[in-house]
Symmetry: C2
Subunit: 133 residues, 2 copies
């Protein structure tokens, strides 16, 4: 898809399904927004376009984050861990909503006295975010 | 191992190997320290002792983080994502070194012009951290 070198993609230890786990962290605040997976193609597109593209394991296809919701992620940094098998991306979350539940991020439940308590509000109703025809 | 309720453990969607991915974030700075896995037992111990215990997939046994190095992680918060299949823990990293390479965290390589560039120093020589007999 481009003439850039892709040697850096070969340094990643892809799992048996050709995927790598990806942590998306909000650049400005340090909040963890979400956790997802990328394949080789999605990481290359993410790097070249500076917009996060994941691999959807449930739909088995490229997942251009924000395609439907408009909540795209602009990518500031791409990092690799010591074992070359986890990616960390630092992003700006357009709309301030990363989670499909309409919350800022996906980690909105906190363990308190053996219960998972939700401590983040829904910013926008998911039905308004995803307008299926 | 204790008489506390473990219903909260049943709400987690463990993968086919009985594991869940875990992101460890530094409580004070927001830095992502490392990414690892937990099984049911390790998460329960982590919750009850407030010290991070992972599941080592390579050694196939409980991995009491810092057992050898002294670089234990005190756990302040345990969070669950929207799909109930990823855990985020917020920790204090004793010694300021989470990575086995002797660096602050595992994400010390940054993608720049198609190269993974190391931008974090080794704080302590790993040979001094892990003194095998």
């Amino acid at each position: 898809m481009s003439e850039l070198s892709t040697d850096w993609l070969n340094e990643i230890r892809w799992d048996t399904n050709g995927l790598v786990p990806v942590i998306a962290q909000e650049h400005a605040t340090g909040s963890i927004l979400m956790f997802a997976w990328m394949n080789r193609e999605s990481l290359q597109i993410t790097y070249e376009t500076r917009q996060a593209v994941y691999w959807s394991r449930s739909r088995n296809k490229l997942w251009r984050k924000g395609e439907e919701s408009g909540h795209v992620q602009h990518v500031y940094e791409i990092r690799l861990d010591c074992d070359e098998d986890v990616i960390l991306i630092k992003v700006e979350q357009v709309g301030g909503i990363a989670c499909h539940t309409g919350r800022h991020d996906c980690f909105y439940r906190k363990l308190e006295n053996e219960n998972w308590l939700t401590d983040q509000p829904v910013i926008k109703n998911p039905q308004e975010i995803y307008k299926h025809e």
